[in-house]
């Protein structure tokens, strides 16, 4: 898919430091009109910061940018929008207290105002039109953003970015939030935009997706540009080697489940949640990975919340099979050894303003109690440092605030905080979302190790290869109900699973 169009955006010697942390170091790149340009790299490699500078979110310490032949110096994202550049950021980028329509046009409401009074009907109609024009799955326009799922929020952010009719569209890890159907829609949309001569800067950890969609790929490592290559002819292994700086061969670490003769560890008995789950029943066995997949409205993410006691089912029970105890609260779930790593790490999994130490230690607080019954700062620090090293979290130290970390490193903190405590059941919702290829491999290895300890793992994921690669069984949900359970012994066919999903 190689194209030789005119250079539409050029960055020269861009540098950015956050305190002592070097985020981007002397990066120069040229981007062409009518191309999808992939940006890949490990977590903390500087992809999001580089794109943030282009989109006017971050100021730069050094360097210049040109849009076409003109010097481009965005003062803010709004200013970048005026110059035809918009971005969907990796973190959630909506104002929770505003409606969908208000979020789409926040900062640009003058176009609907007459004598200062905004015509809400016109604004709503324009929002509706934007969803329809780009063929994006509609989201209720009057709903407050806080009531939306992560996927719906990302759809709104995408519409907002498109609403300025950009020449340059930057998408940072957007597909990590999307399920199968919305990914397909996005891919079609990107092809359409490319054909219209737009430049799409596409940041993703999903290498097959990068190879499929992009014309050229730039690899970043430790804030520096490694190389830019044509996607045509490139391979996943080649990209991994460029990103990590070594061979990363193994991706999945599947080991057969030790389930023979073992009782189920968790019984889900006919749970229903109004409009989300319908009479869901299954058993999770000791030492198995039960994969859970489905499309965006299938209820897979709500299922994790119900099992952990975060949402109360209208009907049915979640039972700890060994004791017969009903899990009906979050406290009980934690006390009985159920751990849950949610999909939405920033709002559900982490205290983003707190330190890494506080985040890592919180779920295991009881284990830091000293002789006199007080918390031992020494034990906490030792534990936090140990986890920081074990999960290879890139940070200046355990006292660094989580909101200063890159997206992938935040995910590592989220995982580490739960995986480091004694668990009986582990619920992982999209554990590799926004995590680079090296750490993804580590997470899969970790899942295999946890499984060997006899822990039952429920792996909820929008990534079908991940489910196929890690699971002993795959439970596919459709419209809130269990559609089918695939057994590994029968063979996991990607095509047959997708057929059940849709």
């Amino acid at each position: 898919m190689s194209r030789e169009n005119a250079c539409v955006l050029k960055v020269e010697g861009l540098c950015k430091n956050f305190g002592p942390t070097r985020a981007v170091a002397d990066v120069s790149l040229e981007f062409r009109a009518g191309e999808v340009h992939g940006l890949i790299g490990e977590n903390g490699s500087g992809k999001s910061t580089l794109m943030g500078m282009v989109a006017g979110i971050h100021s730069r310490d050094k360097g210049r940018m040109f849009k076409g032949n003109q010097l481009y110096d965005p003062e803010s994202p709004a200013h970048a929008n005026e110059q035809g550049i918009s971005m969907v950021v990796q973190e959630l980028g909506l104002v929770d207290g505003l409606t969908v329509a208000e979020n789409i046009f926040l900062g640009k409401t003058e176009q609907f105002a007459q004598r200062g009074v905004i015509n809400l009907r016109k604004m709503r109609a324009a929002a509706e039109e934007a969803f329809a024009a780009w063929g994006i799955t509609p989201v209720p326009l009057d709903a407050l953003a806080r009531s939306l799922t992560v996927e719906e929020k990302k759809l709104v952010e995408l519409v907002r970015a498109l609403s300025v009719d950009p020449d340059v569209l930057i998408l940072d890890e957007i597909t990590a939030a999307f399920s199968h159907n919305n990914r397909a829609l996005l891919y079609d949309l990107l092809v359409k935009l490319r054909d219209q001569g737009k430049l799409i800067l596409f940041v993703s950890h999903n290498l097959p997706e990068i190879l499929e969609l992009c014309d050229r790929i730039t690899v970043l490592k430790d804030g520096e540009k490694v190389t830019t290559i044509a996607a045509e002819g490139a391979t996943e292994d080649q990209l991994k080697r460029l990103m990590v700086g070594r061979e990363v061969k193994e991706t999945y670490f599947y080991t057969p489940a030790q389930t023979t003769g073992s009782k189920p560890v968790l019984t889900v008995d006919g749970i229903s949640v109004d409009g989300m789950l319908h009479n869901v029943s299954f058993e999770l066995r000791r030492g198995e990975v039960l994969g859970v997949g489905g499309l965006s409205d299938s209820g897979i993410h709500e299922l994790g919340r119900v099992l952990f006691g975060l949402s109360k089912p209208d009907q049915g029970k979640v039972i700890l099979t060994e004791t017969g105890e009903v899990i009906d609260s979050l406290r009980k779930a934690i006390d009985r050894g159920i751990a849950y790593v949610p999909k939405d790490r920033d709002t559900e999994a982490l205290m983003v303003r707190a330190t890494i130490e506080d985040n890592l230690c919180l779920p295991s607080t009881d284990s830091f109690v000293g002789r006199l019954g007080f918390l031992s700062p020494r034990k906490r620090k030792a534990f936090a440092r140990e986890q920081l090293a074990a999960f290879e979290i890139k940070a200046s130290g355990i006292r660094q605030a989580v909101n200063q970390l890159s997206g992938g490193n935040r995910q590592k903190v989220s995982l580490a905080s739960w995986l480091s405590r004694p668990n009986r059941i582990l619920i992982l919702d999209s554990p590799t979302r926004g995590v680079d290829v090296g750490i993804t491999a580590n997470i899969y290895k970790l899942i295999a190790e946890v499984k060997k300890q006899g822990i039952g793992i429920l792996l909820i994921s929008d990534e079908l290869p991940e489910l196929i690669g890690c699971s002993d069984r795959i439970l596919i949900m459709k419209n809130g109900a269990v559609a089918k359970v695939f057994e590994r012994a029968e063979g996991f066919g990607e095509h047959s699973i997708v057929q059940v999903m849709i």
Partner: protein, 326 residues
């Protein structure tokens, strides 16, 4: 994603109207029960007039609070501003009639809230701390004025029998209509209101959308001043004379409007906030009225009920937040 009709969010929107009817019906039911409990003295034409009349001033102050509190500017000096603005409105009213009364209150409210905005935003200290400091200053200014008047052998401004119509039925209640229209337009239909809501909800995202948060907060404070000023003018007309107070006693003034904001916020999913404020202030006025009719002493047990109500309403409104966080 399923079709629109199957989407639970869309279904929820269809239920909104029904929820509104149910809340209002529930409120009516409570009023009917109170009516019988008070021996038929509650739902009389005269008593209803008193209830709504008593809700007017808190409603204007609460509308003002909506703008400052929504953007995170917890201003504890509002009670002291009401005292100063009421006195200034009285002085101007005696010189220029009703126009002076209204414009005087408006000017004082806007000026003092704008000053607060500058102090809060420039010092960057927590607004509630800065607000307490400003309350002390405003109370002292009131005391200086009062002492000066006494030294001159005069009284703190008193309207006597003049200009009292604005604070009485039906004019005070009629003021709610333009007030509601204005607050709705400003809060829901202008970029001032939109930006205030955005800043209070998510500062990072709002900044990324190119909105200047300090400007948004300052404008929110100024608009707050408009409603505080109007409420002060009606207040001066209602009481005739408002004596300045010291010792931070004016801070207590904020609790009833604050309760109304909490009530409105707890009903945020059902009613627009500005309409929720009216329901909240009228409900509070009705509650105190009912307690008085039932012989519950004010100054003690009525305040106990208000305290319990504040906690109960906060619990209800925080339950929604908890769901979001988790």
């Amino acid at each position: 994603m399923a079709g629109a009709a199957a989407n639970p969010l869309l279904e929820r929107f269809g239920q909104k109207r029904m929820q509104q009817v149910l809340v209002l019906a529930g409120l009516l039911l409570v009023f009917i029960i109170i009516h019988f409990a008070t021996g038929g003295r509650f739902l009389t034409k005269r008593n209803l007039g008193i209830i709504v009349s008593h809700a007017v001033i808190p409603t204007f102050i609460t509308w003002g609070l909506v703008f400052s509190f929504t953007s995170g500017m917890i201003d504890l000096s509002i009670g002291s501003i009401v005292v100063l603005a009421s006195n200034f409105a009285g002085i101007m009213g005696l010189k220029f009639g009703y126009a002076g009364l209204l414009l005087g209150g408006l000017a004082a409210g806007v000026a003092l809230q704008a000053l607060n905005g500058v102090v809060f935003l420039k010092t960057k200290i927590p607004p509630w701390v800065a607000g307490l400091g400003m309350a002390m200053i405003y109370e002292s200014i009131g005391a200086f004025y009062s002492n000066m008047a006494v030294r001159r052998g005069e009284m703190v401004v008193s309207l006597g029998s003049q200009l009292r119509g604005l604070g009485q039925l039906p004019f005070n209640v009629l003021m709610l209509v333009p007030g509601l229209i204005a607050v709705y337009i400003l809060f829901c239909r202008t970029s001032i209101g939109l930006n205030v809501r955005a800043v209070g909800s998510d500062l990072r995202v709002t900044k990324e959308m190119g909105i200047n948060p300090n400007r948004a907060k300052f404008l929110g404070m100024v608009v707050c001043g408009i409603f505080i000023g109007l409420g002060s003018a009606i207040n001066e007309s209602y009481v005739g004379q408002l004596l300045p107070r010291t010792g931070l006693t004016t801070v207590a003034t904020i609790f009833q409007p604050l309760t109304a904001v909490l009530i409105a916020s707890s009903m945020g999913a059902i009613f627009n906030l500005v309409i929720g404020v009216v329901i909240g202030t009228i409900s509070l006025s009705a509650l105190f009225n009912a307690l008085t009719l039932l012989g519950v002493p004010s100054g003690t047990w009525q305040e106990v009920v208000l305290g319990i109500l504040v906690i109960a309403v906060t619990v209800v409104s925080m339950r929604g937040e908890e769901g979001v966080v988790k």
